[in-house]
């Protein structure tokens, strides 16, 4: 069996170059945003993360060929994301509880 596969056959260099220009514009926005629009750290971080996840979506969909790939790859990525989300939830919950306990201890 050769490696010729319909997943990879769909993509051409023109798609790569188009995505590259989109990523370049988004990278420019990433660098310019804090210089041009002065905001507090929280809105800045939110905007930066929004741009970062947009860039990641383009890379995963077009450069890593997930767009048009079989569902097993999409499910694998989703499973990894869910696992990270579970870890994040436990960490946030743990941090919150510790903070409550800390405040209770010093208030008594």
């Amino acid at each position: 069996m050769s490696n010729t596969n319909e997943i990879t056959q769909k993509f051409s260099s023109s798609i790569y170059i188009k995505v590259f220009f989109i990523l370049t514009i988004l990278t420019g926005l990433t660098i310019l945003q804090p210089l041009l629009i002065h905001m507090n750290y929280l809105p800045t971080l939110s905007v930066q993360m929004l741009i970062a996840f947009t860039k990641i979506t383009f890379v995963v969909m077009y450069y890593m060929h997930i767009k048009g790939a079989s569902s097993i790859y999409k499910r694998l990525i989703l499973a990894a994301m869910l696992l990270v989300a579970v870890l994040a939830t436990f960490t946030i919950y743990d941090t919150h509880i510790r903070l409550l306990m800390h405040n209770d201890f010093f208030s008594n």
Partner: protein, 219 residues
């Protein structure tokens, strides 16, 4: 054992008919799936570190914002574009090989290696600048600053160091692939290794997409 012959591997279908397994070492889907599972372990490693960053950022927000002001945004920004271009050239090398243009594919891999090396040189200079200013773990200057600043630089050196190790591994794999292409072991009919390396390189790029704003741009 010099004259030992390899016994053919036989599998049976539902009707009990025997079939010889051929080409079992060239399983495209298996190779891709296996590599994606490897990438998922990598996602877990870096996600854990990003989670540690988020935790300490929440606990030491002001220190992190203050520490971020010491970062060299110009060098970080240049490195972002360097990795972005290298991701494109890596992808183009795969397309060229699929189109049976081995020479062009080899050229693109070499360009990717050059950009990866530029990234490392810039990162090395950046680290040296930061170390020169006293921002390195256990330095007396860093110890005199807040705990949050120490945590920020500890995480910065850990994450960018681990990322740098991935870049070095990537360069090594690309050089190995160039040898394989030269021998004809990777070709337009057998390109899954190059395709998986391109996936790895995309992942390295993705990590930097997150690392850059959280360390350089949170002021």
């Amino acid at each position: 054992m010099a004259n030992a012959t390899v016994e053919p591997e036989i599998v049976y279908d539902k009707e009990g008919n025997a079939h010889e397994v051929v080409d079992f070492n060239n399983d495209y889907e298996g190779a891709k799936l296996g590599f994606w599972i490897f990438l998922l372990t990598e996602i877990m490693i870096f996600s854990s570190l990003f989670l540690v960053y988020a935790f300490y950022f929440d606990q030491n927000t002001n220190d992190f914002v203050q520490a971020s002001e010491h970062m060299d945004r110009l060098l970080g920004g240049i490195n972002t574009f360097v990795l972005l271009i290298s991701t494109l050239t890596m992808g183009l090398s795969v397309i060229s090989l699929k189109n049976n243009d081995v020479k062009k594919s080899t050229k693109y891999i070499w360009i990717t290696i050059i950009f990866a090396t530029i990234f490392l040189i810039i990162k090395y200079n950046e680290w040296m600048l930061e170390i020169g200013e006293g921002f390195y773990p256990s330095s007396s200057y860093l110890d005199s600053l807040g705990n949050g600043v120490k945590l920020f630089f500890g995480l910065y050196f850990t994450l960018t160091g681990l990322h740098g190790v991935h870049i070095i591994v990537g360069i090594g794999v690309m050089l190995w692939i160039l040898g394989k292409i030269k021998k004809g072991e990777i070709s337009s009919l057998n390109f899954v290794v190059l395709e998986n390396t391109a996936l790895y390189w995309d992942f390295v790029h993705i990590v930097w997409i997150i690392v850059f704003p959280i360390f350089y741009l949170i002021y």
